[in-house]
Each structure stands twice: as structure tokens, then as C-alpha cells.
């Protein structure tokens, strides 16, 4: 029993980071009132740039490049949505399409369709003193992003709820005019949140190509960005909530895989399709018990205009 739990936990921790980072990025952006539909595209750009950068530099530095690339795409989003007050959903979808097609185009013209050449992966870290403890041992043997994914939600939650900056960011997403009357710049705060969100989404993508795989593969991130948005909503737009939701999705997936392989007889009774739907069924179940409090940022998706009321 302990053994099974250990494996489930290990698989969850191994698979969750990319989703966690992307969900945190979406939370940051949306709490400041800018819709983050473009997360999928930012992840893709981050994944591509990190894999290409890792061909010429150490992988940790390449992950940084991937983050910057995500932020660069977010900057386009910010420029359109904050500077020109365009429709934030349309802008995000456009970025997703550009990243999808652009990634495929650059990949095929520079490396061929089979993906970039293999790179040096981020190596797993082992904690021998932890490894012997039951359950906690599952913490050992992951690459650095896993530990960052455990730490970052706490930091972000602290920042958003316990610091003046966090208060202002949240206020910008709920009542931007109130922030403006305090003499603070609404655009500047939103820019900060959008770029920060881009960095995080880029990190999520970079994790996919440097930790999960050892190259950029043309389908990356295969819809994970949209899962991240779901995790954000499910987690009520809070960093800890989004983390919990992302971890929950990853756990549901690990559970489904584990069930199928450890109980072959189960498949004679339960069709594969039901198992495949298990993560989503679990989500539905939890949503049913979650109640109905509305936690959407009040000004989400509304462009800020100084003159309007």
C-alpha cells in the first residue's frame, strides 16, 4: 500500500511542475486583470527557445532563455491589451496560433520535422537522507523544477496577500480606478504582472523540453496551457489554489495510469475510456463540492481607460 502511494506521489511530483508554473503565470496575469489565454503559446515559445539555447549553452541558462522568450511573447500580449486596449481573448488566441505555426515552421526549417537534436537534460537531484523515509522518499530523485514548483506557490501567495505590491496587483484586477486615485500607474502594474506571467509560462514550457524530454518535439505543449487555465479557475485565482489544482490534475493522471497497469483485471470490468476520463471525473466531483463563491477578478478582461467610470 505504502509502496503504491509512494509511486503515485513520485509520478505526480515528476509530472506536475510544467503545469504548476503555467498555472501560476496565468494567476499572476489574471489577478491583475489581463486574460491569460495565451499561456499555451508562451509555453510553446519557452519550450522551443530553451531547447535551441541548450544546444549552445548549459541547460540551466537555457531555461532562463526560455523564460525570457515566454516573457517576450507576453510583451506582445501586453502591448496589444494594455497599450492598445484590444480584446484580450482574441489577442491571446492569436498568440497561440502564431506560436503553434511559428514553432512548427522554425523547427522544420532549422532542424527538420523530427525535433531539435537531443540536449543535456536537467539532472535529477537525489537526497539520500530522504530516500529511506517512507512516503517522504518520493521527494528525492526529481530535477530542480519540481522543488521550485513546491516553493514558488508559497512565495507567490505571500507576495499577493501579504505585501503592498500584492495588494496593488489584486486591486488593479478588481478596481483599477481605485488604484489610479492613489497615484499609482495602472498600466505599469499590469505590465509587471503580464511579463511575470510570461516568465512563468515560459518556464513551464522550458521544463517540458529540458526535463520531461531532451528536445523540442513539435507537439509541445499539447494542450497543457489550457489545462493550466483550468487549474487557475479551479484554484480560484490564488497561487496556492492553482498549485493544488495542478497537483490534483497530475495526481488524477498518475492514478489512472497506475490503476491500468497494476490491476489488469480491472480493465475487463471498466472500459479504458472511463479510466481516461478519470482525472476529469475527479475534477467534476470536486467542483460539485466546491460551492459557488465567485472569485473571478472583477475587472478581468476589461481594458483600463482613465476617462471611463
Amino acid at each position: 500500500m505504502l509502496e503504491i502511494l509512494h509511486r503515485l506521489l513520485f509520478a505526480t511530483l515528476d509530472a506536475a511542475p510544467a503545469l504548476v508554473f503555467a498555472a501560476l503565470g496565468a494567476v499572476l496575469s489574471e489577478r491583475a486583470g489581463v486574460v491569460a489565454v495565451g499561456v499555451e503559446g508562451m509555453m510553446r515559445v519557452g519550450a522551443f527557445c530553451a531547447a535551441v539555447a541548450a544546444l549552445v549553452m548549459p541547460t540551466p541558462a537555457a531555461v532562463g532563455i526560455g523564460m525570457l522568450a515566454g516573457a517576450a511573447l507576453a510583451a506582445v500580449h501586453g502591448f496589444l491589451c494594455i497599450r492598445w486596449r484590444s480584446d484580450q481573448v482574441v489577442s491571446g488566441i492569436a498568440l497561440n496560433l502564431v506560436a503553434l505555426a511559428g514553432g512548427t515552421f522554425l523547427l522544420e526549417t532549422h532542424f527538420g520535422p523530427n525535433g531539435t537534436p537531443p540536449i543535456q537534460q536537467l539532472q535529477p537531484l537525489h537526497w539520500p537522507e530522504l530516500a529511506s523515509v517512507p512516503l517522504l522518499g518520493a521527494l528525492s530523485g526529481h530535477a530542480a523544477p519540481t522543488y521550485l514548483a513546491l516553493l514558488l506557490p508559497l512565495l507567490l501567495q505571500g507576495m499577493l496577500t501579504r505585501t503592498p505590491l500584492g495588494l496593488r496587483l489584486r486591486a488593479v484586477g478588481d478596481k483599477p480606478h481605485a488604484v489610479a486615485t492613489l497615484g499609482l500607474s495602472v498600466p505599469a502594474l499590469r505590465w509587471g504582472a503580464v511579463l511575470g506571467g510570461g516568465l512563468l509560462a515560459g518556464l513551464g514550457g522550458a521544463v517540458l523540453s529540458t526535463t520531461v524530454l531532451d528536445r523540442f518535439e513539435q507537439h509541445t505543449p499539447a494542450g497543457l496551457g489550457f489545462m493550466a487555465l483550468a487549474a487557475m479557475v479551479f484554484g480560484r485565482w490564488t497561487p496556492l489554489g492553482a498549485f493544488a489544482a495542478a497537483a490534483f490534475f497530475a495526481f488524477g493522471n498518475a492514478l489512472r495510469i497506475g490503476l491500468a497497469s497494476s490491476a489488469p483485471g480491472l480493465l475487463d470490468v471498466v472500459p479504458q475510456g472511463v479510466l481516461l476520463a478519470l482525472p476529469y471525473l475527479l475534477t467534476l466531483l470536486v467542483l460539485t463540492f466546491q460551492g459557488q463563491r465567485n472569485s473571478t477578478p472583477a475587472s478581468l478582461g476589461v481594458p483600463y481607460e482613465q476617462e471611463s467610470r
Binding site: F10, E108, G112, G115, L213, H219, A222
Partner: protein
Amino acid sequence: MTLRLQVLALTALLCACTKQKEETPPSGAPAPASAQQEAKKPLPVGLVIDVGGRGDHSFNDAALRGLELWAAGKRYEGGKYVDATPDDVRKSLPGHLSSIAATLQPLPIQPVVLQSKAQEDYIPNLQLLVDRGAQLTIGNGYMLANAVRTSAQENPQARFLLIDSQVLDAQGKTLRLPNVRTVLFKEHEGSFLVGALAGLVTKTNKVGFVGGIEVPLIQRFEVGYRAGVKTTKPEAAQALMSVYTGSFNDMAAGKQVAQDLIAKGADVIFHAAGSDGIGVIQAVKEARATGKNVYAIGVDSDQSHVAPEAILTSMLKHTDLVVYQAAKDLVDGKFTATELLLGLKENAVAMAEVRVDFPGKAEALQKVEALRQRVISGQLQVPSVPADLATFQAAAP
């Protein structure tokens, strides 16, 4: 919703544009004239590949190899075609086909390949190729079955090759159309051989199977594999672990599944999961780096180049040959709408060369070869549906 509308509008625009183009220039309209008359100009041959995309090292790449490299004598590099050398062709041929190398002459055709990003792309893509004058349009994959039926009925003058499925009507009954050639493979026969090898190689007596989407096609791989393992190592067949990822384009899912199987002791894992399989191979590669003696078995194309030390063998499915043959028939004016069913006997499925070394390799390969002969001669019927598996019995070689 908005996205769907945008896509629709774009597609409509695209179709409108191509239609107009076809109407204005006098040379553009493709007359269904005898193919031989136009043999001087390269004949356009279209190929629509499924959502797995180009570069899956597997199913789509096999069809692309048949059309681009073998039939057209071209290599796809940096987004355009360059002429391939005879050496490229020879290198792409597996050992058991080296005898046909001389017959693979480049044909006067021009490949036109369209990738599909979503299932909704299939019909517009097929229509686009027909509108651009493709003399033969190939739909690669069972997912295109309905799209090919629609296009073939709307364009009776155009010719189609549908791979991995028959034409089915709305009720799911087989339909014969006068302009569609269909090809089905006996994947279970090839999978039987790799399963037999897996049974001979496994040390832990635990082997795994990773499928993509659970459809009858992929089940044939699984059933054949199970039958093979059962023949050479019955105790491993009991504990065989089979997991479906539910997709063909999510390598992260494939990797997670394979990691799970390896953690549970599997030391040979066969995948039939398109791009997800790249993740399976990645997981095996990483497990080998930590000292575990595990192998992956590739599918459709010889996947040895993805991770040479981790790939035990591959279950080859020669869509490349079928595509080449169809293009050749077209050029020779012999293209007919037939329903093909190809297996080990026709060399259409096979076990790839085993390039890794393991104790008892020569003996194991002999046993597999003996089984192959028995399947070819008809002494041994490999089951293709799960229901027949329980009663399947074959004497160990």
C-alpha cells in the same frame, strides 16, 4: 467558440481562393485524362497526414518516405525538397527489403503534402489537394476514413488511397467506391513476432504495452503482441501490463505511462502510440541511464535511430511500400480501386533488424524466424481481436 468561427472563416476563404485560381488559368484544370499522356510533367500526388504530423518517426514518416523519398526521389530538408541520392534510398530500406532496392526507381510525380492540425482539417485538406489537381490523393490513417469517403463521393473523377481503414458508410458498413483503393494491414502478425521476441528477452517476466487511442486498429497490435508473448513465455503473458494514453500526440503522457510500467518491473515495452511513443522511448532511455536493463520496441518505422541502445526492434508496417506501389500504378495507368489486406506473407508487416546485443540473441532470433515461417505458411493463425486471445494456443518454437 470564437476560435472555431475564425478557423471556419479562414477555411472558407482558403477554399474560395483556390477555387477561383482553378477557374481562371486554362492549364490548371485537371482533366481525368490517362495518366500516361501527362507523364512528361510530374503528376501531382497528394498526401494528407493525420494529426500526429510530420516527424513522428513512425506512421506518418513511413508514408512520407514512400511518397517523397521512394516515389518522387526527393528529400524534405529545411522546408523544401532536394533531390535524394540512390544512397539515401538504400539506407532507408530495411534488410529484408534490400532485394527490391533496384525496383525502387523514382517516378515522375510531384508530392504535395498537407499536415492536419485538427480533425476538422481532413476534409478541407483533401479537397484542397483535389482542387490543386492531385491525380491521386492519399489519406494516411483511419482517422481520415470519413473524410476520404466524403471527398471521394464529391469528386468522382479524383482517385484516392486510404490507409488503415476501409471506406465505411454512416452505419459503419463497408462501402466500395470506384475511385478509392483501401489498405488494411495485419498488424497482429507483425506484433506477434515482436511479442515472441519480448517473451524471449524479458528477465523480469513482466512486459508492457503502451497504446494510443483504444480503437480496433491499435487493439490488433496489442492482441498480436499478447499472443506472441503467450507463445514464448506464458507466465509473462498473464502479467502483461497494457495502458492506453488516449492520444497520439502527447509525448509527456507516453513518458509517464512508460515510467509507471518500468517502476512496476516491466523490462520490455512495446508501443503503438504515434508521437506518444517518443515519450515511451525517452522513459526507457532514462531508465537505462540509471542502470536498468529495459528495452522499448518501436512501431511502424524502424525507430532504432531515436535511441539506438534502447530499441530492441521495431514492428514495421510498410505503408511506404503501399504508397510507392499506388504511385507507380498511377504512373503506369494501372491504378485500380481494390481492397488490400496485407500481412507477413506479403512482407507488408515485419520485425525490424535487431541491432542491440543480449545473451542468447542468435537462438532467440531463430525461434522468431521459425514462428514467422509458421504464420506465413498458414499453420499458425494469429488472433486479431481480444475475444480470440483466450483460446489461442501455439506450441513454443
